[in-house]
C-alpha cells in the first residue's frame, strides 16, 4: 500500500516536472477572431495565416528579409515554440470582451492578438489594458484605436488615416494628369470601422480646402438585405469617385447593384474589407473589373519580392486562396510578438510590453520598412499601395515604386 502511494506521488511529481518543462518550451499566444457568425469566413482565413506563421517560426525556412524564419522557435527563449490558442468573438464586442476575460483568467497565454473588427478590438483591448496585459492588433483599421492613450495596445496594420491619405495622394496625382476626381461619394457601414474610415476621408476633404467635395454621404446598416436606396442616392449625386468602407457581404451587393442600376464612376476605391477578400475578384469577375483599393499585400507583390512566394504557397495549400493584405498583416503580427518575446528574454507581461514599445523589426512582408510603434502604439514603418482588379486578379497600380501593372482609367471605359 505504502509503495503504491509513494509510486503515485512520484508519478505526480514527474508529471509536474514534465509540464514545467513543457511550459518553458512553449509560449502560448491567445488569438481573438470571429470563428462563428457572419464573419466566420474572415476569421477562418486569419486562423490559417497564423498557423502558417507559427509553422515558419517554429520550423526553419530560408525566407530572405523575414527574421525568425531561419531559426527554430524563439531565439531569446532558447528556441521555445509558439503555440496558438484561438478564441471565438462571434464578431460581437460583448462576446469578445468575455473571451478576453477568459484568456486572462486562464492565465496560460503570454500575449493577446486580435481582433478582426475595430468594434471588437476596442473593448477587448480595454480589458487587456485594465489587466496590464500586452495586446497586439493585427488588422483593425479605425484610427481611433491608437488615439486612446493605451499603454499595452499596439497595432501593426495601417490605419484609416494612412489609407485615406494614400487615397487623396492618389487622387491628387490623377488631378495633375487632368483626370476628373473632385466629386466624391462616400459609402460606409455604420460600425466602428465604417464610421471612422469616413471620418478620416472627410478630414482629408476638409484639408483640401474645396478641391474635393463630398457629393453623397451614404451610411448603411450592416447585414442589409438590399442596397438599392443607397446606390440610387449615389447615382443621383453623379460622383467622379466612390469611396467604400464595406465588408465582403455588402460589397458584393453594392457591386451587383451598381451594375444593375447603371452607375458609372471614374474610380471606385475601397478601404480594407470586402474588396481585399480574394473571392471578391474571383467570384464577381467582370462585375468588379477596375475596382481599386488599399493593399498591403497581393499575389502581385511576389513579382517585387520573390521570397514571399514560400509563404503564399503555404497559405494557398491551406485555404486555396492567395494571401491578401489582411492575411499578411496577421502573418507579420505574430513575428512582432516573437521579436518582443525574444528581445525581452521573458514572457512576463511588463517585460514583453516594454520590448514591444522598443520594437524596430525590419521585415519584408509588407510595404514599408517593417514595424516600429509610436508612443500610441501605432506602426509608423508601414505603408500602403493601391491595387486594381484586372481580369480577376489584384494588380498593384500605384505608386510607381510598387506598381507592376498599368492602371485602367476610367475603371470601365
Amino acid at each position: 500500500m505504502k509503495k503504491s502511494i509513494i509510486l503515485a506521488l512520484f508519478l505526480i511529481l514527474l508529471l509536474g516536472i514534465s509540464s514545467a518543462v513543457n511550459a518553458a518550451e512553449e509560449v502560448e499566444v491567445a488569438l481573438l477572431y470571429p470563428l462563428s457568425g457572419p464573419l466566420t469566413e474572415a476569421g477562418k482565413r486569419m486562423k490559417s495565416v497564423y498557423e502558417v506563421a507559427a509553422e515558419v517560426i517554429n520550423g526553419s525556412y530560408d525566407i530572405q528579409g523575414v527574421p525568425y524564419a531561419k531559426t527554430e522557435g524563439i531565439p531569446g527563449l532558447n528556441g521555445a515554440k509558439i503555440t496558438l490558442k484561438f478564441y471565438d468573438t462571434q464578431g460581437s464586442p460583448e462576446v469578445g470582451k468575455a473571451e478576453t476575460e477568459r484568456i486572462l483568467q486562464e492565465g496560460t497565454a503570454k500575449l493577446i492578438i486580435g481582433a478582426y473588427q475595430s468594434a471588437v478590438s476596442k473593448p477587448t483591448s480595454f480589458v487587456a489594458e485594465r489587466h496590464k496585459f500586452p495586446f497586439l492588433c493585427a488588422v483593425s483599421s479605425s484610427a481611433a484605436l491608437t488615439e486612446r492613450g493605451l499603454k499595452y495596445f499596439f497595432r501593426v496594420a495601417p490605419t484609416d488615416f494612412h489609407d485615406s491619405r494614400m487615397f487623396f495622394n492618389f487622387l491628387d496625382d490623377m488631378r495633375k494628369q487632368g483626370k476628373k476626381v473632385e466629386n466624391v461619394a462616400i459609402v460606409y457601414e455604420k460600425t466602428e470601422f465604417g464610421v471612422h474610415a469616413m471620418k478620416e476621408v472627410k478630414k482629408r476633404v476638409d484639408e483640401s480646402k474645396g478641391v474635393y467635395q463630398v457629393v453623397a454621404d451614404v451610411p448603411y446598416a450592416f447585414k442589409s438585405t438590399d442596397v438599392n436606396a443607397e446606390v440610387l442616392k449615389i447615382k443621383a449625386a453623379k460622383p467622379d469617385v466612390i469611396i467604400h468602407a464595406t465588408l465582403f457581404s455588402e460589397m458584393t451587393l453594392f457591386a451587383k447593384t451598381y451594375e444593375n442600376l447603371g452607375v458609372k464612376s471614374n474610380a471606385n476605391l475601397s478601404f480594407c474589407g470586402g474588396y481585399q477578400n480574394p473571392k471578391f475578384a474571383s467570384q464577381l469577375k467582370d462585375t468588379v473589373e477596375g475596382y481599386m483599393g488599399s493593399c498591403t499585400f497581393a499575389e502581385d507583390f511576389i513579382r517585387k519580392k520573390a521570397q514571399l512566394k514560400t509563404i503564399n504557397d503555404m497559405y494557398k495549400a491551406k485555404t486555396d486562396m492567395n494571401l491578401d493584405g489582411i492575411a499578411m498583416e496577421g502573418f507579420t503580427t505574430l513575428f512582432v510578438a516573437v521579436d518582443a518575446f525574444s528581445r525581452a528574454k521573458s514572457t512576463d507581461p511588463e517585460s514583453v510590453t516594454k520590448a514591444l514599445r522598443t520594437t524596430e523589426l525590419v521585415i519584408a512582408t509588407l510595404p514599408g520598412k517593417g514595424v516600429k510603434f509610436d508612443e500610441n502604439g501605432q506602426n509608423i514603418w508601414i505603408d500602403s499601395t493601391m491595387s486594381q482588379i484586372q481580369k480577376g486578379e489584384y494588380k498593384v497600380v500605384w505608386p510607381n515604386e510598387w506598381a507592376t501593372t498599368a492602371m485602367a482609367w476610367p475603371m470601365r471605359p
Binding site: 462563428s36 457568425g37 457572419p38 466566420t40 469566413e41 476569421g43 477562418k44 455604420k190 451614404v218 451610411p219 448603411y220 446598416a221 447585414k223 442589409s224 438585405t225 438590399d226 442596397v227 438599392n228 436606396a229 443607397e230 440610387l232 442616392k233 447615382k235 443621383a236 465582403f248 457581404s249 458584393t252 451587393l253 451587383k256 451594375e259 444593375n260 442600376l261 447603371g262 477578400n277 473571392k279 467570384q283 464577381l284 469577375k285 467582370d286 462585375t287
Partner: protein, 288 residues
C-alpha cells in the same frame, strides 16, 4: 428631384418587395394553420440557396432550371421537419414548438457550416446574371425582374390553391378550428404536414430566385427571417394576401424611405411602420 430616380426607387422597392412577400407567405401559412412560429424559416431559405448554388457549381444546372428541384426538395424538408421536430411536440405548450424550431435553426446552420464552410458564394455566370432591361433611363435587372415575376406567380398559385382547392378548404377549416375539422373527418395531421411542406416550398422558391442576385453563406437566412417576421405580423398572421401586400409595403418603405430619410434608417422606418400598425391594429393590416 429627378423623376427617373423616383421611379427607379419604386421599381426597385417592388422588385425586392415581391421576394420578401413569397418568403413571408411560407411563414404565415405555417403560423396561420398551426400557430407555430417557425424560427428555422430563414435557414430553409439558406438551404434552398445553397442547394441552387451547389447544383450550379457541381452539375452546371442554372438556378432558373434547378428551381423545380429546389421547391420539391424544400417541400420534402418541410415534411421531414414536421414529422421529426414538430409532430412530437404538438399538443404541448406552443412555446415548446417554437423552441424546437429555434433548435432546428441552430442545427441546420451549424451542419451547413461544418460541411460547406463559412465562405460567401456568389453565382455570377448564370443565364440571367449581369443582364438588364433599360428604358427611359430606368434599369431593371433581369435576375430581379424574373425573381419578382416568379414570386408573384407562385404567391398567386398558393393563394388559389388555398382558397379554391379541396385541400385548401381542409386547411382553412383546420386553421379555424382544429377539433371541429377533426370531427368533420379531416386528417388534421396530414393537413399540418402538407402545410409545413408548402410553407417550406414557398421559401424554397424564394431562395431559388434570390440566389440569382444575392450572395450565399450559412447565416444568409437571418437577414431575411427578421424582415419576414415583421411582414407576417404587419400583414396579419395567417393571411396570405396580407403577407403579399405587407412584403411590397416593406420593400417600398425600405427603398423610398431609405433614400429620403437616409439609408442607415431604412430598417428603422420599417420597424416604426410595424409599431404604428400593431398599436392601431394589433392583428395586423389584414388580420382577423
Amino acid at each position: 428631384m429627378d423623376v427617373t430616380i423616383f421611379l427607379q426607387l419604386v421599381i426597385s422597392g417592388l422588385l425586392i418587395g415581391f421576394v420578401f412577400s413569397l418568403i413571408a407567405v411560407g411563414l404565415t401559412l405555417i403560423w396561420g394553420v398551426m400557430d407555430i412560429l417557425n424560427f428555422a424559416h430563414g435557414d430553409f431559405l439558406m438551404l434552398a440557396m445553397f442547394s441552387a448554388f451547389l447544383m450550379f457549381a457541381n452539375l452546371g444546372i442554372d438556378p432558373v432550371f434547378s428551381l423545380p428541384v429546389i421547391v420539391g426538395l424544400l417541400f420534402f424538408i418541410g415534411l421531414l421537419t414536421f414529422r421529426l421536430v414538430i409532430k412530437p411536440v404538438l399538443g404541448y405548450h406552443a412555446l415548446i414548438a417554437l423552441l424546437a424550431t429555434f433548435g432546428l435553426s441552430i442545427f441546420i446552420r451549424n451542419v451547413v457550416l461544418f460541411f460547406l464552410g463559412p465562405d460567401f458564394r456568389v453565382i455570377n455566370q448564370s443565364v440571367l446574371a449581369g443582364k438588364r432591361i433599360s428604358f427611359l433611363g430606368l434599369h431593371l435587372s433581369l435576375p430581379q425582374l424574373v425573381s419578382a415575376i416568379g414570386c408573384v406567380l407562385i404567391t398567386y398559385v398558393v393563394y388559389l390553391f388555398i382558397s379554391k382547392s379541396k385541400f385548401g378548404r381542409a386547411l382553412r377549416a383546420t386553421a379555424l378550428d382544429k377539433d371541429t375539422a377533426l370531427l368533420m373527418g379531416i386528417n388534421t395531421n396530414r393537413v399540418f404536414a402538407l402545410t409545413f411542406g408548402l410553407g417550406a416550398a414557398c421559401v424554397g422558391a424564394a431562395g431559388g430566385f434570390l440566389v440569382n442576385f444575392y450572395y450565399v453563406f450559412p447565416e444568409v437566412g437571418l437577414n431575411f427571417a427578421i424582415l419576414s417576421f415583421v411582414i407576417v405580423a404587419l400583414g396579419g398572421f395567417g393571411n396570405i394576401g396580407g403577407a403579399f401586400l405587407a412584403g411590397i409595403l416593406v420593400g417600398l418603405v425600405e427603398n423610398i424611405g431609405g433614400f429620403f430619410v437616409g439609408p442607415e434608417f431604412k430598417y428603422t422606418l420599417v420597424f416604426i411602420l410595424y409599431l404604428i400598425v400593431i398599436s392601431l391594429r394589433p392583428k395586423g393590416l389584414f388580420g382577423w
